[in-house]
């Protein structure tokens, strides 16, 4: 990306943020937000070589909700999650925005402005993450029990060792793993079991928000389904909110309340899951939905999306999807379309010139 492009991207980001802030928060916030991402931008690298992977994203997670975040590889969905939780490894840099967490009681706090100590205390007790690739998410040289209990010991130092072990066994039971697996090492578990251990670990401190980054991608379809069912059940039981990141839109349609679609580092459409499935507004969402077959209902033609995801170093001028878009027309080559509530359906938002705001 040339420096000129960075400039224009930043300019457009600042131009569009006031408008989209109001639209994102007031529209989707059905009263009770638990996590609000406002105008988050993430770069890889600094200076003129920097690549903007997440561009001015607004996203609100409501209490008890499952919010799906979908997009192709490289669309910035994982970067968004890591950036918002300050886990981004260098050269990733959060360049702007705020991430507000609303505790059950008390004022919202901004994750991006916490001191390291506050951040440590916040992590896992309020917000936990189930990571992509369970195969490598467990420390290979210590037991499952040790990894389940160390986080409890860190956050609740007053608990006794026996209590922590009991809790670890309870957590394993929650995800359907026998308690004699406590003494197992990660390499002695199957992929599905490891993923379930990660889910159990994420629930150890009963957090209010769980971010799941492609938790089932490495598993076969049967195991995927089993784990998703279990997750849905646990969510009902424990009442946490979920941000579910995946490229598998079919999974999201089934399990999430609301879906946000990302493309080229921006959110291009946001709508309740059913509405998005029945009537997607953005041509990209439409393309994604036509990339997998429906099991029920009328047959649809599988089309896929021609072309390949945009190169973040050399983003198209205007709408990032424009070069691949079958419906592209004149305004698409101008400035990137802002995320607005379309006139046709103010209950959702879309960033496309085909659907101007009211």
């Amino acid at each position: 990306m040339s420096s000129e492009n960075v400039m224009s991207a930043q300019k457009s980001a600042s131009q569009q943020s006031p408008d989209s802030t109001t639209s994102a928060t007031s529209k989707t916030g059905q009263g009770n937000p638990v996590l609000e991402i406002r105008g988050l931008s993430v770069d890889y690298g600094v200076g003129p070589q920097a690549v903007r992977a997440v561009n001015d994203v607004h996203l609100t997670l409501n209490r008890g909700e499952v919010l799906g975040l979908a997009g192709e590889s490289g669309s910035g969905k994982s970067t968004l999650a890591y950036g918002a939780t300050r886990l981004l490894p260098p050269p990733g840099v959060v360049t702007g925005g705020s991430v507000l967490y609303h505790p059950d009681d008390g004022d919202p706090v901004d994750l991006l402005r916490m001191t390291p100590g506050e951040l440590r205390a916040f992590r896992w007790s309020q917000l936990s993450i189930v990571f992509q690739g369970a195969m490598n998410s467990l420390n290979p040289v210590t037991t499952v029990a040790a990894q389940l209990t160390d986080v409890i010991a860190e956050h609740r130092p007053k608990t006794s060792k026996a209590d922590r072990m009991a809790r670890a066994a309870e957590l394993l039971a929650l995800v359907g793993i026998a308690r004699d697996r406590l003494d197992s090492y990660p390499h002695q578990l199957s992929g599905g079991m490891r993923q379930r251990v990660m889910i159990a670990m994420a629930l150890a401190l009963e957090p209010r928000v769980v971010i799941m980054d492609e938790p089932t991608t490495a598993l076969d379809v049967v195991m995927q389904r089993q784990i998703m069912r279990q997750l849905a059940k646990l969510k009902e039981q424990l009442g946490f909110s979920v941000i579910f990141i995946t490229h598998d839109l079919s999974l999201l349609v089934e399990f999430s309340d609301r879906i946000a679609i990302m493309y080229g580092g921006r959110i291009v459409e946001q709508a309740p899951a059913v509405e998005l499935y029945d009537n997607s507004l953005h041509p990209y969402s439409d393309g994604l939905l036509h990339s997998f077959p429906a099991l029920r209902g009328p047959r649809r033609e599988l089309t896929g999306i021609p072309g390949s995801p945009p190169d973040l170093r050399d983003m198209p001028v205007g709408c990032a999807f424009q070069p691949r878009c079958p419906k592209a027309f004149d305004p698409c080559g101008g400035s990137p379309p802002p995320l607005v509530r379309p006139a046709s359906d103010p209950g959702r938002s879309v960033a496309c010139y085909l659907h101007p705001s009211a």
Binding site: S128, I129, G133, N136, L138, N139, D150, M198
Partner: protein, 326 residues
């Protein structure tokens, strides 16, 4: 347990192979100890003397190679390594016995110290990469790339002299009788400062670099991100998650280094005239003292195998993946 038994079997087999090779190779070399003694005297030995030497070294019996091999194994089992030519009639075992403590004391201690210091610094250098700690790397790499003999000679030139407290050579002052009293131990320690310091300076860099690079590699692993996300303290993530995994390759290297300790370090012992195994080996080679050379090689072999076996055990304790159950 199965793993353990298999490793043990492997080491016993290796030991036997090493002993066998150690027996046959010198016998494949033309000539015998008597010939070399004659050569030393430039042939000015009368035939009676040669005959008595033949009897002394057991060359008059004309045994077959196989029966020699069996009696060699029998002697080894009794801890008999033969008689040293140079220190005639002292047996090889007592020559080695007087040299080993010096080598073990100096090289052993410094190897362990260098490993500990280097690894510890490596943990920090890897964890805090991108900060001022990175400045350590070029310094230690520079120090470890200095040829040792030069480092040793320079340190002797700089720090020893007529009016210096530090001695330039030997393991203790010539006038002293070795014994476990404070005067002697203090004197021996004073003699070891310079060689020890130079060894540590030249070998710390290797451990540091290895550990740092492993730390950097391990830091990119998913489980480190998970550990951070769990809100664990930075120190805990560094020790229990990163260093614990990064240490594994260094353990094997350390086992190897410990095994080689017994062989002494020629250069160290040569530069500082330190009375260790390395210096003995050097003298033995220059004096064609085959029994002593064989004895040193055998000791080194056994030590390397034993150290590797210990490293295997340590590895087994540290890495559950090597413990195959069933």
């Amino acid at each position: 347990m199965k793993y353990f038994a298999r490793r043990l079997g492997f080491y016993i087999l290796t030991l036997w192979a090493a002993i066998t090779i150690n027996f046959f190779i010198p016998r494949m070399i033309p000539g015998n100890p008597v010939d070399s003694l004659i050569a030393q005297r430039r042939g000015e030995i009368d035939s009676n003397a040669i005959k008595s030497l033949d009897i002394l070294f057991g060359l008059d019996k004309h045994q077959s190679l196989l029966s020699q091999y069996w009696s060699y194994l029998g002697q080894l089992a009794h801890g008999d390594l033969g008689i040293s030519f140079q220190n005639f009639p002292e047996p090889v075992t007592s020559v080695l016995g007087s040299a080993l403590p010096w080598t073990l004391g100096l090289i052993g201690t410094t190897t362990i110290l260098a490993f500990l210091i280097g690894t510890l610094l490596g943990v920090f250098a890897g964890w805090k990469r991108g900060t001022w700690v990175d400045g350590l790397l070029p310094v230690t790499t520079f120090l470890s790339s200095i040829p040792y003999f030069w480092l040793g000679l320079i340190s002797v030139t700089l720090f020893t002299g007529v009016d210096s407290w530090l001695p330039s050579s030997g393991g203790y002052d010539p006038g002293l009788v070795p014994g476990w009293d404070f005067g002697f131990i203090g004197n021996a320690l004073r003699h070891s400062i310079l060689p020890a310091a130079t060894i540590i300076i030249s070998s710390v860099g290797g451990w540091l670099l290895a550990m740092r690079n492993m730390m950097v590699t391990v830091s990119a692993e998913d489980y480190i991100t998970v550990a951070h996300a769990k809100g664990l303290s930075d120190r805990r993530v560094m020790t229990k998650y990163a260093a614990r995994n990064a240490l594994l390759p260094s353990v094997s290297g350390f086992g190897m280094a410990l095994g080689l300790v017994v062989g002494g370090t020629f250069l160290v012992e040569y530069v500082f005239s330190y009375p260790g195994v390395g210096l003995q080996l050097l003298n033995a080679i220059s004096g064609h003292d085959y029994p002593l050379i064989q004895g040193v090689f055998l000791t080194v072999t056994v030590a390397v195998l034993a150290a590797n076996f210990l490293a295997d055990l340590a590895y087994m304790a540290l890495d559950p993946r090597t413990r195959k159950e069933g």
